[in-house]
Symmetry: C2
Subunit: 279 residues, 2 copies
């Protein structure tokens, strides 16, 4: 598998890289970013997967999330993929919350989306294999996090892959796409009307159906204008409580949905992941 | 003077605001950003002015510079103006390095620029008065910094206003616009052919002519692709040495001209400013 280097930039002593490759999952070129902290030659580092939200490419978190300092301090590699396939030949929708930039980390089954929108396969299988082959990652020490639609991605990827991630966190996640306008639109479009097929893409439904996360940390701003209608953190609170799951869900006064919120707490999250990703 | 609030967002416990006002200096609306850390009611905080580089608006540093954590920790207000007047009625040039987005912090004397491009007056007089009236700043405790063209701005504003700034720093500054293509083009365009009129906008010439900065810190990446032809840090090294000025000019191995470089060292700079801005 050929990896093309788009850019490499020194940051906090490490390397912030952007890479491109032809993806077999999506049938398109996919771009992703990797921050590799300074490390000893031959050393393998734990890896934190970062999934971004609606409208984002690989680039938003790289610029706005401010993870570099904490990743450098704790020796954690961070990998951030794009949120969907892109290109003139790839189906799209005019809305910001469906189509390109809004892959929802599902494997689409409906036309015209099924051919390219295989983001679950991409983030669960293809990208990890590619990263394991090309970067100094210790795949026995993986954590996952994300923001908004990417928080949904982090939760559901982790719930469907027990044992793969030592730590899972999320910022402002869509906790139950089956129960909010963003999610209902996307899941109907990508998966069709049969709501049973949606359950493996809904963190609350997955927990209800028996899936578990050992170490879960969620951060949510109370001034987030999507909280009431889209994010509905209380549904996750409820699911976690009923399941007897160990989870920390922190509601933060005054913070909104932006990366200003994420950047405020990212260092704490990375420290929390790093503690669980120690060799 | 009326100040319109464009946005206010909680970040690291403080408030990241964006504001707009009708500027008498530029004859246009001007947008600027202010980060105010959490503080006691009635308390006045020191202020650090941040001047940005070519193509930037008020927004780039706010997103990419990552100053929030250090400003919050040290209790420093940061203010960042736009780099030029903007608008359909404002003269412009097709190039990225002249006209809108490239004000060079001068008072233009040449047509068609003179009417709007009064950025020296804006950052030295109008904006400080506006900020003093509207934010909890202690104007006895001011520092200034900036990046690239904004580093040139920070150095020259400080050199022309002895005693105003307790601390001055710059990242990747254009140290002598009289001696590089970016600067020669801009100064010719805004000020005309008489090079004598350029000297008050050239840090090295100002030092040669007797101006001084008490506390100066400069950060420059050695892998910066503008170093050899545009930034020429050695000219400042030379001017400072000849003047017997106390300055720390740090050349950083492997770093380029981007905000990935700035963000790596911004916390150190803010700490350095804060030490000099103590009550």
């Amino acid at each position: 598998m050929t990896l093309e280097t788009v850019s490499e930039t020194k940051c906090f002593g490490g390397n912030q890289g952007v890479y491109k490759h032809a993806s077999s999952s999506t049938g398109t070129d996919m771009t992703f970013q990797v921050f590799v902290p300074e490390h000893r030659e031959g050393e393998k580092l734990p890896v934190l997967w970062w999934l971004s939200g609606l409208t984002c490419t690989h680039e938003n978190a790289m610029i706005k999330c401010h993870y570099h300092q904490a990743c450098a301090e704790h020796g954690v590699i961070l990998v951030g993929p794009d949120t969907s396939p892109r290109g003139e030949d790839v189906p799209d929708d005019e809305a910001y919350d469906f189509g390109q930039g809004a892959g929802f980390y599902v494997n689409a089954t409906q036309e015209p989306w099924a051919k390219n929108f295989q983001m679950r396969r991409y983030v669960e299988e293809e990208l990890p294999a590619l990263v394991a082959d090309n970067f100094p990652v210790d795949m026995e020490r993986q954590g996952i996090s994300g923001h908004s639609m990417g928080g949904h991605g982090a939760l559901t990827v982790s719930l469907r892959n027990p044992g793969r991630f030592r730590s899972t966190s999320a910022f402002s996640p869509i906790v139950s796409p089956m129960n909010c306008p963003w999610g209902e639109k996307a899941l109907t479009g990508y998966l069709g009307d049969n709501r049973d097929a949606w359950r493996e893409y809904d963190a609350c439904a997955l927990i209800e159906d028996g899936a578990r996360i050992d170490h879960l940390l969620v951060e949510q701003g109370r001034a987030d204008n999507f909280l009431d209608d889209e994010l509905k953190t209380w549904l996750l609170e409820d699911a976690v409580r009923k399941a007897g799951m160990n989870a920390s869900i922190a509601m933060q006064e005054g913070y909104d949905h932006s990366y200003f919120f994420v950047s405020t707490f990212i260092a704490e999250h990375i420290k929390w992941h790093a503690e669980r990703l120690k060799a």
